[in-house]
Amino acid sequence: MASIVLDRVTVEFPIYNARKRSLKAELIRRAVGGRIQSDDDSRVSVVALRDISLMLKDGDRLGLVGHNGAGKSTLLRVLSRVYEPPVGHAEIKGTISSLTDLTMGMDPEATGYENILLRSIFLGVPIKQARQMVPEIEEFTELGNFLNLPMRTYSSGMMVRLAFAISTAVTPEILIMDEVIAAGDAAFFEKAEARLDRMVGSSRILVVASHSDTVIRRMCNKAALLREGRITMIGDVDEVLATYHGQD
């Protein structure tokens, strides 16, 4: 059982300029006494998410839509436990895989084989299981002998193939995606798509942010519309998309 419960989550990013961030500024402020500095004290911050409440359980496939800066990526990061909300409560149960940075943990100087193990460690896969994944990744990436060479010798397309193959080798309970990855050339793209579909299909909860209606329609059974950090609408995919396109 995987589940996600967000209860009135608000996420603000304080903006520290060089002055604000320095200890000197703080000490001077403290020394002076504070009263007069009250306008100076009003810290500038960007509210990325405001009062978000959300409940997801097994079988839910949620698509997030909204303009740039609406809070989609921040919400995804709250859902993947990266940001702990300072206000409100987030309870996320289940193993999470976030396909936002496919290469995290990989080392360009290490060989392809070594990178399979490196990346696996960051995905939380035990070494033993990672070794068992190797043949399947070999076959899927079609990199052949390149897997014995340092990754810095790869073309960017080859690097994506490898990163994609490793990151999608294990299925999490909760799958988080920020735009669906377009990997490699046309022939590989089809393979990648099939593999992604399988992963999406076997995960219990999916949350994907995308600007593509096709992707949202294909993968999701629910959608949420974000606007200026709030969920303004949640429910049926077609209805949400219609509202989204109607709002401009």
Binding site: S53, G59, D60, M104, K222
Partner: protein, 282 residues
Amino acid sequence: MSITIPEIASSEPPKPPSMARHLTLALEDLVKGLYDWRIWLLLGMNDIRQRYRRSQLGQFWITFAMATTIVTLGILYSYLFKMDLRVYLPYLGTSLVVWGLISGIVTDSGSAFINSEAYVKQASIPRSVFVHQMLVRNSIVFLHNLIILPPLYLFFGLTPSWVLLLAPIGVAFIILNGVWVGLLLGAFCARYRDMPQIIASLIQVVFFMTPVMWQPPQLPGRLVWLVRYNPVESFMDLVRDPLLGQAPPVSSWEGAAIVTVVGYSVSVLFFARFRARIIYWL
């Protein structure tokens, strides 16, 4: 419909987490951090590997640089202090190697979280992992510096004694304290970006105030407190004394124990309070 906005019973605004909750999460972070040993071991080793990549001597440049410092400083200061080179050089060598570990940990602590921004912002990895990574890196450097000591002792005819076995305990003590120093300074420096510079300057002062280059007996009587109440000196003693063939004084064990208990108490509370904020400071 499977997705609903949960019905919230109370309409009052959500309360910020209590200190007890903060503390639970912080302890969880520390436990999970230890459990993720593969990640920090790998990150720490990669730090070293990347620094000396494709150089012929590789990470042994660490050893080489330290050996050069010890020999040149040793010869110069044995003249300045009018001390027997056979006594002074092993003392200075041991001191510098141990000091290197302590100062390395303290200065690196400041950048523990700042340097890991990319990881912190992408995945939910316990914050303590990055402190352990910093400790792994510094331990590797220390081990490379340690290589210098056996030839140095051999050259000056120092014979090892059984107290040598106390040295690893001293090293473990230093690293154990590195955890709280890293959590505290790591978070503090992420918030106040002038702190790393302040720490770098302070550590220089501590270097001159601590018997690294000089020995306690050289100090005039009225300055003895400088050594007696110097917490860094306690840790220096715990490793240096056994390596040079004598048991560390009881006062040094006491000093180190007090620093450990007080340090952890302050640091864990501080970390508990601000752990969740660190990511917003990066």
